[in-house]
Symmetry: C2
Subunit: 449 residues, 2 copies
């Protein structure tokens, strides 16, 4: 009898595994059962899921198995085990929004992204934990790399479950740093698309800079999940949606990159900064010039805007969330977390004129950042100011991740660093509506680092 000793969690990429499906050496049901073994072991420790529907998952995996056997998969990810952040509606499970006010609430329909994923053959295991309304109040998920540490938030459950190998990919959302930061803390790939690139209908994040994000076990899985969503559901209604090829873009060496500090660099710890500095050195050694605030005027000019991203984003979010919060407070204010209750007076005090001013400021900052595209192909920075901090009462500092949200640009977290045995991500930021270019650069960086 062997004892099941596990040193560290291991991700479970899906696309790579499908190569063995056609021959029958492996199949989606077998793949799922391996995932469910991980679920049995990890879930009691990490609490990544709010609700599960394993009978439906097994049935879906059996159908995918039959399609692969018949060499008629619905998509390259037919059969992929996935989790859906509990902000996003599913017909077969409750959508609880991380709030006791929505315990067992049901939408009776799937969100557009979920309809698309099911049509592509995705096997949906369950709903993954979100902080309260995808804001800051955590709901108990633990980091699989160290159970005393936060997995980050707000897409806590999807990040933790992908890291633990329970699912190959999970949907998240991001309005500040809710996809990129947990990806960094849990050591998985995290993708925040260009704003409006993936259809959010049926996702309860109503803010203007929020996005449906993807957490996944490989860069190729990440792209493919996004592609299968957009090709069926489009982007947000009225927007053209994610543009790019039907398979993950190949690695492409960038002309130049910029290193941006954001407000996070000043508070990042020393070993974390050393990771970044080592990466920058390797990038330069590979022959790619790195622009910085000391060497490049536009980088220098936008750094103060990036440093102010959190304050501006919070004001915009407060205005955009206040109707929901008011409605919840009218039902039972005691069931809102203290952190939300404290924000109510500030949100109520905002006028429509304040909001219009903040939107105009955001537009200006976006235009200023876009000018950088003439001189470089993207920006790099840390995925977080350090590895996941100890404690479950906070989901950590998000300063590094808000600029991409404010700018409406695509960004990726790549799990390439490690500090004291905890994972840490490199963040790569692109330019609006050029998500495919970003994936090409990211693949090059992943291969390099």
């Amino acid at each position: 009898m062997s004892t099941d000793i596990r040193i560290k969690p291991a991700m479970r990429p899906y696309l790579a595994a499908t190569r063995r499906f056609a021959s029958g050496d492996d199949n989606p049901r077998e793949f799922l059962e391996r995932c469910l073994k991980e679920l049995d072991w990890w879930e009691p420790q990490i609490g990544a899921f709010v609700n599960l529907n394993l009978p439906a998952a097994r049935a879906a995996a059996d159908q995918a198995t039959a399609r692969w056997r018949d060499r008629k998969p619905r998509s390259p990810i037919d059969g992929i085990p996935m989790g859906i952040k509990d902000m996003i509606e599913t017909a077969d499970m409750p959508t609880e929004l991380g709030s006791p006010l929505f315990e067992d609430w049901r939408s009776w329909k799937d969100a557009a992204s979920v309809v698309a994923l099911r049509a592509a053959g995705a096997v949906i295991l369950g709903k993954t934990v979100t902080t309260e309304f995808a804001m800051s109040y955590p709901r108990g998920t633990r980091n699989p790399w160290n159970f005393d540490h936060t997995p980050g938030g707000s897409s806590s459950g999807s990040a933790a479950a992908v890291a633990a190998g329970i699912i190959s990919a999970g949907l998240g959302t991001q309005v500040l740093g809710s996809t990129l930061r947990p990806a960094s803390f849990c050591g998985v790939y995290g993708y925040k698309p260009s704003v409006h690139a993936l259809n959010r209908t049926g996702s309860h994040d109503y803010q203007s800079q929020s996005c449906t994000g993807i957490l996944a076990a490989s860069l190729e899985d990440t792209w493919q999940v996004a592609y299968e969503i957009v090709t069926r559901a489009g982007g947000d209604p009225g927007w053209p949606g994610l543009v790019g090829p039907d398979r993950a873009p190949a690695a492409k060496k960038p002309r130049r990159l910029a290193f941006v500090e954001t407000a996070g660099w000043a508070v990042a710890d020393a070993p974390t900064k050393q990771c970044m500095e080592a990466a920058l050195k390797r990038i330069q050694t590979a022959g790619v010039e790195v622009l910085t605030r000391t060497t490049h005027a536009i980088v220098d000019a936008i750094e103060p805007d990036l440093a102010g991203a959190l304050d501006l984003s919070m004001r915009i979010n407060d205005f955009e969330m206040r109707s929901l919060i008011q409605s919840c407070a009218d039902r039972d204010i005691e069931k809102l977390s203290p952190v939300i209750r404290e924000r109510i007076p500030k949100a109520t005090a905002l006028t429509l004129a304040d909001y219009r001013g903040d939107l105009a400021t955001r537009d200006e900052i976006r235009a200023a950042y876009a000018e950088l595209a003439a001189d470089c192909d993207g920006c790099v920075t840390l995925g977080s100011v350090g590895p996941a901090p100890k404690g479950l009462e906070s989901t950590g500092v998000t300063l590094m991740n808000v600029p991409a949200s404010l700018l409406g640009i695509p960004a990726l977290t790549l799990p390439v660093f490690s500090v004291d045995g905890m994972p840490l991500g490199l963040q790569v930021m692109g330019f609006a509506d050029r998500d495919a270019d970003l994936f090409g650069i990211a693949a090059w960086l992943r291969d390099l680092l």
Copy 2:
């Protein structure tokens, strides 16, 4: 004992009535009780409501009464009796979306517009009938001017209830003609705002050209309801929202107007056309030049675009609605109407490239229409191709109303015509994000006609 004989329904404007509130000669509770008398009489005949919450309405009216007595109303419409189209979420009542698939479904929260209206003191009587998913399949509401005739749709219940004097205003939605057409058929004011001008969060019309519309008993009530929503909830997240004064804009004589035929003029009946021709004559006699396709190159150039508005809008809607319809079909396709079931193959066949092409075409048409603003202050046309047709199996022809939806512009229906004892509206169309200007012209037209 007197017999309650009614010749015709009568609207019940609210703002005008509030003048007597300060003195105590009247109050919101008394106003509501008069509405509830109409409800008792009319509702069994017309079926305008899906669900009612009269205890909550009476309690809200009492609170508004106390505020007016203390001379501290929350807004000029504090106490206004309203109905909410059953596409829009309410915490205290189900939201059934006009579909048996959502019978008794509850959102557990208010839509942003409803939160705003409650904060302004609105008294919400109930949820008004919508066609299935605000599309074409009717749900039995009758026209208060003749019970054998349709009230139009999809905002059937709000239009009928305002016409019958049960409520002073109702929320609707419009993606094709769902606010403007029922307003014309029922003889009430109908307002379709500029796209994105009023926050749709919590309204289940996910399409890119859909809007929260208002049906009301006066032009002043219409504006005030819109203003009270936007000042608290803003426009759609990320958009500046409706711009304009805190009271209805005063009547303003336009420089010039354009008469547009749209695809509707060719199929309008003769008495209906005579109404329009008489109105155009009176406008010209008042000294306002009217441009037409025979006298003005831009009008002539855009008429074919307006004539094609329905086809293009339907393709865009089909793509944007297909995730929802698919999810419903997965639950129980038999509970979808035949008209929706028939659309599924067409919607499924659309590619993302088709959709992107349609959006680009729409952008071009919007740009072409915007050029007209240099030469005139707005357009006039019929509110519908005729008065409400007999029969409840269809909500009537919407050709006249789709151009405003496709163009994303504000439009109003004014109840100024009558054909054989049935009401008929004049439609006034403005330019994008200049809703206040449209209200000024509309007030001038209302006073003139």
